[in-house]
């Protein structure tokens, strides 16, 4: 990786930390410890299930919110503060700026997820008093969540490269919701006929398929994850991220910044 990309990524990470993004960890810790303690008192026989489901869902949702709300401002904030002109007046290519911003945001989310994962395992230890072999599957779910973040970061950057922060947030969040229904969209396409079928199928494959990356429920029930699924989900997320980032670079390269 070019040192310029690395510098931009590092600065993006520092900026996110300065913006107190990691404060969400406090809310996460309160949520999880509260659930671990109280669920046993108000429900029956689902303590572990709640910790895994709630923990992983919170990791996912907190991360998605951070990815969208930081991602949408990455380009526009630099333009607004006019710091972008300072950066681009140096020997930094526009694509390096976009890619650097992406890695900075992705790094922030990975660090955030790492601390949240410690919280999930801590809560699990509290309710179960010991770790068991199937608990390792939680790492697979966390890995898939990180892959999901990569896609959302790239989409937020894509929208940020040509649109206002508000519209970028709307677009990114809408795609997150639609992506969660990707399997249903494919189901609708299968039921349609003619041009509608082609259109629906195209849309189903164009939007990110987040349902394939969501294995929280399966992991909570200790269902095994195949190596093929891990490999293919990894490749899917990387290709989709590359696609969205390429789109962001293409737009940003041609954007008139004057």
């Amino acid at each position: 990786m070019s040192p310029r990309i690395l510098h931009i990524a590092r600065n993006t990470f520092r900026e996110a930390v300065r913006d107190r993004v990691l404060y969400n960890l406090i809310a996460f810790a309160l949520l999880l410890s509260g659930a671990a303690i109280f669920v046993g008192q108000i429900s029956i026989d689902i303590e572990r299930l709640v910790v895994v489901n709630l923990g992983l869902t919170a990791v996912s949702l907190f991360g998605v919110v951070i990815a969208i709300f930081i991602g949408i401002g990455l380009v526009s904030k630099e333009i607004e503060k006019r710091t972008l002109y300072t950066v681009l007046s140096r020997p930094v290519r526009r694509w390096e700026f976009i890619v650097g911003k992406f890695f900075g945001l992705a790094g922030t989310l990975v660090v955030n997820t790492f601390f949240m994962a410690i919280g999930v395992f801590g809560a699990l230890l509290y309710v179960a008093h010991k770790f068991s072999r199937p608990d390792a599957l939680i790492l697979v779910a966390l890995y898939f969540i990180v892959l999901e973040f990569l896609i959302i970061c790239s989409l937020a950057l894509l929208f940020s490269s040509f649109s206002s922060p508000l519209l970028s947030a709307v677009f990114a969040f809408s795609l997150f919701v639609i992506g969660s229904f990707a399997d249903d969209l494919r189901g609708f396409a299968a039921m349609a006929h003619g041009a509608t079928r082609w259109f629906a199928t195209g849309a189903a494959y164009l939007v990110p398929n987040f349902s394939a990356l969501n294995v929280i429920s399966a992991v909570a029930h200790e269902q095994p994850m195949g190596g093929q699924l891990i490999l293919q989900n990894t490749l899917y997320a990387l290709f989709y991220t590359a696609m969205a980032l390429s789109g962001a670079v293409l737009i940003f390269e041609r954007r008139n910044l004057k």
Binding site: I44, I46, V50, V52, N53, D184, F210, S217, H221
Partner: protein
């Protein structure tokens, strides 16, 4: 002298504390005016499919929330001695649609649905539907077949279907051996006390869940009382045949039967003999599920569990 800034801080802090206290007090008063408002039996979304869609893929967490809501709903209704549990079956349906692998929802759900009110909702057919749905999604879990057979046996006295459920369960890999025995017992459906004791002992042994085990303990205590009272009433009948009158007291009956002492219930209290020859327990409130040994017109109290014998 207090600075203006400090003065503002103090006033704002006092305002905050007073407002917070006032809002809490007001809310408590409002709750008294509309007491059922916060616990209203409403399913805002009754379609399980719709709830699953709306969960955006986080259906596992939604299932946990709905299961907790089910437990709370049942608990509140049960505590209020309710005779209707209209939302119980829909709540369980939503929970198990969201997460078809949530085994506690089937096991406890069936025990909430099947028994007659006020112990349960009195909907054994819905309990059977729930268990069959659970078995369809978790065919390798022998506990579900056991619970299904249990509902057929205890609530419907349907020995044929109970035997079928136990038989199906006994074929599951790693199934507990007692399932085969239960299937055989059901096929001949003789010795009701023995069978019932075996069922509840199995329920006690096969679960680590406190409430299931305590429920089993209560049933085992009740079975012992029912069996004791049946035997004592037979002894009274024998005495009546021999002496031409009812025994005057339990010691007289015990002496006539050569028991070597007055028979006692699981709590150690002596059984009472009424003037008309009926046998009663000393404290019927301590035996929630007894069907015999209670005074005429007796109404069972709220459940309270005892330590395992």
């Amino acid at each position: 002298m207090m600075t203006a800034r400090r003065c503002t801080t103090v006033v704002a802090a006092i305002c905050l504390a007073v407002s917070m206290a006032a809002s809490v007090l007001l809310l408590r008063h409002i709750d008294k005016i509309r007491p059922q408002a916060t616990l209203e039996d409403v399913l805002y979304v009754s379609s399980p499919t719709m709830v699953k869609r709306a969960s955006l893929g986080f259906d596992g967490l939604m299932a946990c929330i709905y299961w907790t809501r089910t437990v709370q709903y049942f608990g509140h209704r049960h505590y209020d001695y309710a005779h209707t549990y209209n939302e119980l079956a829909p709540l369980l349906e939503i929970t198990t649609t969201l997460d078809p692998n949530m085994i506690p929802a089937y096991q406890f759900g069936a025990s909430f649905l099947a028994p007659k009110p006020p112990t349960g909702a009195g909907q054994p057919q819905r309990a059977i539907q729930l268990m069959e749905y659970g078995i369809a999604h978790n065919p390798d879990n022998w506990h579900l077949y056991y619970d299904l057979g249990f509902v057929y046996y205890t609530e419907l006295k349907d020995y044929h279907n109970a035997a079928d459920a136990f038989e199906r369960g006994s074929k599951v890999p790693d199934a507990h051996p007692f399932l085969r025995i239960m299937a055989a017992q059901m096929a001949v459906h003789t010795g009701d006390f023995t069978t019932a004791r075996m069922m509840w002992s199995a329920a006690f042994e096969s679960s680590h869940e406190f409430n299931i085990r305590q429920n089993a303990v209560e049933h085992l205590r009740a079975i012992r009382v029912d069996e004791d009272v049946t035997n004592l009433e037979q002894a009274v009948a024998r005495f009546r045949e021999r002496a031409g009158r009812a025994p005057a007291s339990m010691p007289e009956l015990a002496a006539a039967e050569h028991w070597g002492g007055v028979p006692v219930d699981p709590d150690g209290d002596a059984y009472r003999l009424t003037s008309d020859g009926r046998v009663e327990v000393e404290n019927p409130d301590d035996f929630l599920f007894i069907t015999k040994g209670t005074p005429p017109g007796y109404k069972a109290p709220m459940p309270k569990f005892h330590a395992h014998e």
